[in-house]
């Protein structure tokens, strides 16, 4: 049988990969994908903990995380489309006109 | 040979048999479509190859295999080949969760009965739905990676249509699941065993007529069959998303379409027509013959509809899916819930 720590380690690695993607990539779509990786890592952690306590609460919170991720992806992509129409670029550095 | 290895071998044989029957189904459907189309149009279909044209699918497949494999220069190398693989893999994999027979001990060969079906999953309805919705990727990737405007338009339209009709499909599924109280297809079929008044079978078709119609319409739209096959309409889009494909990669697309049709018919049989339950044959463990007959009837209905009604225009198709079919499915769901509450069944 697999100890709980193993699942948490996988979740932590996935979360770190997602964070690295958000910081290192300069493409709005890839940044949004990295955020999805982070949310999935959190889901895995919830389900693992829920299983280790023997309840279904972990699974239920996962549904809410998935729903929020879907809503956030939809709105985020809407914003990306609107931004692309203005600057013809998917680079976050192209939208720095309010920077000092 | 002890029981464990015998059981293992028999289960492997069942999986192999299911796969073999699916491939045969796609080949026979090619022939059946052309013959039935021919008879409806007052002519014989293919009848030169083999007796009454029975070997025509063989000729078709050999022809396709010997054609030249083309790939357009600007096509994405990986995705162009990956798209038909995704399509056909999703089509076959979806049938893995569909049970096609009851339990049998193979005339006493086994101690405990084995279930006829590749896998018995307790969320089988969701598994079929999930894997069928993965088939969208095959089409949208085929359209995009071909680097051609007909393909892109066809692929986009096709995938938008498929995801729109998934809503009505899922809602119709939810109504049946509410009636049966379980997501396992085997439990749904077993809830339809028996008869009312001794002769009317307890099919959900009689309890959910609107649901059945919604499911069939959504199934036809999901598999991109007429009258919802505008994305592959020859008159408008050359051949839609598979314009640039040839030979084996092309052959996988219609095969995926026929297997999807078979899976939809099989799931419809399990959900609404009582699966493998029927008079007489079950006593000798031949319930799967009833399953085969019912699936065959639904497939015939698929082909019949294709060559009878004209094609929907794309915007009419989307409007129908969102404005008529999905609200009807939601109403069906609410009515089913009210019915269950009232009768406390």
């Amino acid at each position: 049988m697999i100890p709980l720590g193993h699942y948490l380690v996988v979740s932590a690695i996935l979360f770190a990969i997602g964070t690295a993607g958000v910081f290192l990539r300069r493409n709005l779509i890839t940044i949004l994908l990295s955020i999805e990786i982070m949310l999935n890592a959190v889901n895995l952690s919830f389900v693992a903990f829920g299983r280790s306590h023997g309840t279904v609460d972990g699974q239920i919170i996962t549904f809410f995380v998935m729903t929020v991720a879907a809503a956030e992806a939809a709105v985020g992509l809407g914003i990306v489309i609107a931004l692309f129409r203005h600057r013809e670029s998917l680079n976050p550095d192209a939208f720095t006109s309010l920077k000092w | 040979m002890d029981q464990a290895t015998l059981r293992f071998i028999i289960q492997l044989a069942i999986i192999g048999f299911t796969f073999f029957m699916l491939i045969n189904a796609s080949a026979l459907l090619v022939l059946a479509e052309r013959k039935i189309m021919g008879f409806m149009q007052q002519r014989y279909g293919p009848y030169l190859v083999g007796p009454h044209g029975l070997l025509q699918p063989l000729a078709d497949i050999l022809k396709l295999l010997f054609k030249e494999e083309l790939r357009p220069k600007g096509a994405d190398k990986w995705l162009f080949t990956l798209a038909p693989i995704i399509s056909v893999t999703a089509a076959f994999a979806a049938f893995a969760a569909v049970p096609w027979g009851g339990e049998t001990t193979f005339f006493g060969l086994l101690d405990t009965p084995v279930k006829l079906g590749v896998a018995d999953v307790n969320v089988a309805v969701l598994v079929v739905f999930a894997i069928t919705s993965m088939g969208v990727y095959g089409i949208v990737l085929a359209g995009w990676s071909s680097n051609s405007k007909y393909s892109l338009l066809g692929g986009l339209r096709s995938s938008a249509q498929m995801i729109s009709y998934e809503l009505a499909y899922a809602t119709a599924l939810a109504s049946v699941v509410m009636l049966a109280g379980s997501l396992s297809l085997r439990s749904v079929v077993d809830a339809q065993a028996g008869y009312w008044f001794g002769f009317i079978p307890r099919w959900y078709l009689f309890l959910q007529p609107l649901g059945f119609i919604i499911y069939m319409i959504a199934g036809v739209a999901e598999t991109n069959r007429a009258p919802f096959d505008f994305p592959e309409a020859e008159q408008e889009l050359v051949a839609g998303y598979n314009t640039e494909y040839s030979s084996v990669r092309f052959a996988l697309f219609p095969q995926a379409e026929y297997i999807n049709m078979t899976t939809m018919s099989a799931v419809a049989t399990d959900l609404y027509l009582g699966g493998w339950h029927g008079p007489l044959l079950e006593r000798w463990g031949l319930g799967w013959l009833w399953f085969l007959i019912k699936v065959g009837l639904i497939l015939f209905a698929y082909i019949w509809v294709r060559w009878t009604v004209p094609r929907y225009r794309y915007d009419q198709l989307m409007q129908f899916g969102w404005k008529w079919l999905f609200p009807a499915a939601v109403l069906n769901l609410i009515a089913t819930a009210a019915f269950i509450l009232y009768f406390n069944a």
């Binding site: 697999i2 829920g50 809410f64 | -």
Partner: protein, 176 residues
């Protein structure tokens, strides 16, 4: 024993696919690799006796959200050479900064893994709880609609708001 092997295989696929996701230049490839990663995670959920969550993951994440991403990438069709050039001129890629950051990240990973493996319960995940009840959708539904019903209703409003917002944001401006 086969459970452990499967766990390692699926974890390796999930982690490897995610690494490739953030390393690809072409967003289409990133999306397909992320779908592979989601599939592996779904298998991990099945191992954790959560079949409903596993199927919901495929239906919602791999089947709907990724299709949305795919449509947007196809619609926008940004050229690939620009993307590579943006990554090369990233301020965090100057050589000293990059190496320092990588060292810190490795240090953090080692520390995290050590802490997690020491502190968390060494007993197997499947020790407590009735498997038949956990895998049944009925119990999930019961808890969802009694203990978490407020969150459920609030989420439905959230989806409605997100739907309206996405349509408004992405709508083409009317040319008068």
């Amino acid at each position: 024993m086969p459970d452990t092997v499967l766990f390692y295989v699926f974890s390796a696929v999930a982690v490897g696919a995610s690494l490739l996701v953030i390393g690809q230049r072409n967003p289409m490839y990133s999306i397909m690799l992320l779908i592979a990663s989601f599939g592996a995670l779904s298998a991990l959920y099945i191992q954790l006796d959560a079949p409903f969550v596993a199927m919901a993951q495929i239906i919602v994440y791999a089947g709907a959200i990724m299709v949305l991403f795919l449509f947007v990438v196809m619609l926008l069709n940004a050229p690939q050479e620009d993307a590579a050039q943006w990554d090369r001129t990233h301020p965090l890629r100057r050589s000293g900064v990059g190496r320092f950051g990588a060292m810190l990240a490795a240090l953090l990973t080692v520390q995290l893994v050590w802490a997690l493996l020491r502190v968390s319960d060494a007993s197997a995940v499947g020790a407590r709880g009735d498997v038949a009840e956990l895998t049944s959708v009925r119990s999930v539904g019961r808890v969802l609609f009694t203990d978490y019903v407020f969150a459920f209703e609030a989420t439905s409003i959230l989806i409605l708001v997100a739907m309206v917002g996405a349509v408004v944001l992405a709508a083409r401006e009317e040319k008068r």
